[in-house]
Symmetry: C2
Subunit: 116 residues, 2 copies
DNA sequence: CAAACCTTGACACAATCGTGGTAACGTTGG
DNA sequence: CCAACGTTACCACGATTGTGTCAAGGTTTG
């Protein structure tokens, strides 16, 4: 019984049950399932939900923004394309270090090559 | 006459004049202005507009997605927060080598130091 | 000067995001 | 068994995105 049901998880994370299902659809936090299909939120999921909520609140970002960041982090081709586009533009006249960011999961293609 | 007016720029980039103004509001491509306030698109802006259009078409991303990426690229605190959150999650149950993550940790903080 | 540009601001509209409900139906536990 | 809870699938609704159009007014140029 290490895992909470959706309403219990909602209680301790501050999200509504409705939103937990929505968050799941965005792919950001995916709970396990019981044999009969009940969502089961374990400590890791609960933690992610709490930190996600804090992230959204601290900065003015939406779930779709974080979802896009996740997509960038897992799609090397997309990441490179975006990175290239941004690097070519000082979008703000502000001096911004050439896009180092997005390097999270970089050289993934290399890993993929060696993985296959 | 190195710069084009908004309708001329629209012509050669494939965007509509309306969208060029919209793109400008997202902060992704900001043309210069003439003394009387006319937008002036030079070769760099025209190129960005073309590559931006190609980027949006090739992957299924929106202007707001690229705008968020730009925000991440220019806001170190936000970038770190998102990066941290994503690193803690194997957004895809896909097997992710812990060793790979650790490898990026190394040069990450050095970059942050030079960013400020 | 007048036609042909440009500007900002507004109205409009479909699609999506972020939320909340409710209905119909399966599961669990006292 | 049945109350309490879970599931999916919808309806709803304000806010934002992405787009077009139009109005009122300044600018450029033949």
């Amino acid at each position: 019984m290490e895992a909470l049901t959706i309403h219990e998880a909602a209680e301790t994370t501050g999200w509504s049950a409705r939103m937990l299902r929505y968050v799941e659809r965005t792919g950001l936090v995916t709970p396990g399932r019981s044999a009969s299909g009940y969502r089961l939120y374990g400590p890791p999921e609960l933690q992610r939900l709490r930190t996600l909520k804090e992230l959204l609140g601290r900065f003015d970002v939406g779930l779709s923004d974080v979802a896009f960041a996740a997509r960038i982090a897992s799609d090397g081709e997309l990441r490179m394309a975006v990175e290239d586009w941004l690097r070519a533009q000082p979008s703000r006249p502000e001096h911004v270090e050439p896009a180092d960011w997005l390097r999270f999961e970089q050289d993934k293609h290399q890993r993929l090559l060696t993985a296959a």
